[in-house]
């Protein structure tokens, strides 16, 4: 029998334990890429940057949590209005509103993407100034983005990204310290 290519998107949780604001984008991709491609790819597009304030995490109920591309718009503390979707090398960067069928739960894109990475910079909540060296591009180990580390550290803090399988769900955590 032919195996199904379907995989679950899973949940994304960003815990910002640091004293700085997270500013960035989050990216999901194909967890079982074929032919050397990561398509489909989905990244947050609006707001840009996506901001998660200092000291926002599951410990105080202020974490960023995304269960799927659509329902996060009403459920998340930090709603994403528009996703940027690339389905192939020729179908690049199509903007999809959170309610568009292209990104609905159970659709081809949702079923074939899993949270994988982020690029971000941290800012001082009082001044808005960027924190020196506290910016990175990180991705879950073993995903298609093999050149990006899953851990980053600098004098002002650190970040890690990893997945945990919980029952049938996969949770991807991005923790910033």
């Amino acid at each position: 029998m032919v195996l199904s290519a379907y995989a679950q998107q899973g949940t994304f949780i960003l815990n910002n334990y640091s004293a700085y604001n997270f500013n960035g984008a989050i990216v999901a991709g194909n967890p079982t890429p074929t032919g050397g491609t990561c398509y489909p790819l989905v990244s947050s597009s609006n707001p840009n940057p996506l901001v998660v304030p200092a000291d926002s995490h599951i410990g105080n109920g202020l974490a960023l949590q995304i269960d799927n591309y659509r329902d996060q718009y009403t459920a998340s503390l930090y709603p994403i209005t528009t996703w940027e979707v690339s389905t192939s090398a020729t179908n690049q960067g199509v903007l999809r509103t959170w309610s568009h069928p292209a990104v609905m739960p159970g659709g081809a894109v949702s079923n074939n993407t899993k949270w994988g990475g982020s690029k971000f910079y941290m800012t001082d909540p009082a001044t808005g100034a960027q924190v020196p060296l506290f910016n990175a591009n990180i991705a879950v180990a073993g995903t298609c983005n093999t050149t990006v580390p899953d851990y980053y550290t600098c004098p002002s803090g650190s970040a890690e990204i990893f997945t945990i399988n919980s029952g049938t769900n996969t949770i991807t955590y991005l923790n910033i310290y």
Partner: protein, 158 residues
Amino acid sequence: MLLGCCTFSQSTRLVINNYSSYNLVGRLIAGSPTVANSYLIAAPNTPGSYTVPALMTDIQYTSFDTSGLSTLPIYNWYLAAGMFPYNDPAVSALVPVSEWATFYFQTKDNAGNSYEDFRIGNPAISSGIGFTSSSYQLGSYSEAEWFDIGGYTYLQVY
């Protein structure tokens, strides 16, 4: 079972998701850019030409010679030698040869009014059999995209 004997398979399954409120009426075409005269064109289903109804999703064609079993059945294929039932050996013979190429279609409302023309497909495969297509097209009323994930080819219309 003769496992290992016959590893033929066509390259992908086709999944059609029509999220739009238009009927998609036209010619669904498969073929091979390397083997001449190996094309297949879906024969008309109601109302007169191959039609994907408005808002019909999760239509799947696992292979050409099982297309009559789909939720949107294709009972007959036009081949170079004429029209054949989907389960005819002439169709099965093209399963390891041909690939999904393109869907030339018009968006139509239930009254039959046409809105736009789309030529959506795999440009490399369809051009190899004489049909020009693109993998993405944005119209004034609708939008269509064609892409591959794993062993599946998706055609999605919004």
